[in-house]
């Protein structure tokens, strides 16, 4: 019996908690992609860079706060800096919309042209980020490292396996939950949120109803910038901040959005967790778990891994491609904001 609990702790430690954390980060990112897609109707290739930009601003403010000696121990200071990062990113995103996207929107450019424009924005933002903060790893995490460390857990429970919960993981998961609840409340229960859904559903009729498209677009960018900054910061806190990594994150994020059905926010969230857990489940080495679950004395030679750890990121691409080919509308049928 104790072996089963040990196996469960092992899975919890290396599979469930990291999966929930990474899934939350992807879900927040995918929500941003989905919002742009359903309101502005294009796939935003600059979203990864938007996340990096938001995280960068947050980091800069965090450093400032740290220098001033401000802290909210045991929570990371970055949480305090987050609102500033969000505001800065909103301003920047709106500036980009005004100076770049607005023109093409007015000309009713096709989604592909918008996509290419977003590639241009991606370049510019990427360059700006590297110009300001450099291409290297930045560490900005402070505060307590663990809520429960593996050692404490073992001492408390007397188990062989530890179940550690890092501060960043708890913060990520909780923040994601709060943000998602707020977002859905906004979309479903406020007039502005409903007008956004209406505009996404039927642009012409929204115009006839007197919904101001400029306002809808603006609100969308505000939400997108907010989500991107939070997702980017949480990812940076949990792993580390490196501009290049955010560009790589773009594909898992698209994968999440598409797996869930682009344009469907609930799907984006589900997609985030589907991608995160598939990556982990397929590349997890089950050797120890199986050892716990089989009678003593049986030796297992291999690591009992379905795919090598190297293929972790490839998993999301493979899922993405399979979903696109087998069921391009996504698992949860898209196009409903």
């Amino acid at each position: 019996m104790i072996d089963v609990i040990n196996a469960a702790a092992l899975l919890g430690n290396f599979l469930v908690i990291p999966g929930l954390t990474y899934g939350s980060q992807l879900a927040l990112g995918a929500l941003g992609v989905t919002l742009v897609y359903s309101v502005l109707r294009f796939s935003n290739f600059a979203h990864g860079e938007t996340m990096a930009f938001g995280a960068m601003l947050t980091i800069l403010v965090t450093w400032g706060l740290q220098a001033l000696g401000v802290s909210i121990q045991p929570l990371p200071t970055a949480l305090l800096a987050l609102p500033f990062g969000i505001i800065g990113t909103i301003a920047f995103t709106l500036l980009i919309d005004r100076s770049v996207y607005a023109y093409h929107r007015q000309r009713k450019a096709s989604p592909v042209v918008f996509l290419i424009v977003s590639i241009g924005v991606m370049f510019v933002m990427g360059g700006l980020i590297r110009f300001i903060i450099g291409p290297n790893d930045q560490i900005f995490f402070d505060g307590a490292r663990f809520i429960i460390s593996a050692r404490d857990f073992k001492r408390m429970t007397g188990l062989e396996e530890g179940l550690a919960i890092r501060m960043t993981q708890a913060v990520t998961i909780l923040t994601a939950i709060v943000i998602v609840i707020l977002l859905f409340w906004f979309l479903n229960h406020t007039r502005t949120g409903k007008s956004m859904r209406a505009y996404s559903d039927n642009e012409n009729l929204a115009l006839l109803s007197g919904i101001n498209p400029q306002r809808v677009v603006m609100i969308t960018w505000i939400l997108v910038a907010t989500l991107a900054t939070i997702a980017g910061t949480l990812y940076g806190l949990d792993k580390s901040f490196k501009p290049f990594v955010y560009m790589q994150l773009l594909l898992p994020i698209f994968a999440s959005a598409i797996v869930g059905g682009v344009g469907n926010p609930l799907g984006a969230i589900a997609g985030g967790y589907v991608i995160a857990f598939s990556e982990l489940i397929l590349t997890f080495a089950y050797k120890k778990v199986i050892q716990y679950l089989t009678p003593d004395g049986i030796e297992i030679e291999s690591l009992m891994q379905i795919l090598g750890t190297d293929y972790k990121i490839a998993v999301s691409f493979i899922i993405l491609v399979i979903v696109l080919v087998v069921r391009p509308t996504g698992l949860f049928q898209g196009k409903t904001l």
């Binding site: 409903k194 859904r197 559903d201 039927n202 012409n204 009729l205 006839l208 109803s209 007197g210």
Partner: protein
Amino acid sequence: MSFLIGQQMTGGYGAADILHDCTIGVDKGEIAVIVGPNGAGKSTAMKAVFGMLPLRHGQVLFDGEDVTLLKPEERVLKGMGFVPQTHNVFISLSVEENLEMGAFIRQDDIRDSIAQVYDLFPILKEKRKQPAGQLSGGQRQQVAVGRALMTHPKVLMLDEPTAGVSPIVMDELFDRILEIARLDVAILMVEQNAKQALEIADKGYVLVQGRNRFTDSGEALLANSEVRRAFLGG
């Protein structure tokens, strides 16, 4: 001079004109019906009156005021309501949210208006939480009309409100439209079911290739043998 009138409208979607010198009007409490063959430009004429089509000539007067240059949403504010022929509900929004969006430009309390729409179309009250996309064709048309009524328009423009619904539902919709007209609302309507529509119409327009072919009272058009032969199937 009618309450709402599009005078000598000429214009189209691109280089070629679809409407030629076309005039359409309606008065308060009156029902005006536009009939004509497919592709005659009926929907185009409605769009022109509502400001969704650039006019090369002609103007639109509403309540004595020239609104030719106003945008559709500005016309909504003035008191015009429009139910397009297709895509006339927000399919992913619930029935009640559809009505709320219809009242989007209003800043005051809209609960009374929603209640009024539910009085007019009781089935919608039952289905108020359902996404409009899940409703039957007739119920959707009710949502569409209800959405346009939310701003208490002085003139309601309907483009084929009975398209694709069964005859029973059609009769009921016509009854409702008559009811709305009794509230002193001007109703301008395009109809495929020309006979039934002209029966309830005070005024009728027969449009052919973007031009006024016949204009008369509904009764007179029904009595006109040429109109009967060519447009009403005998």
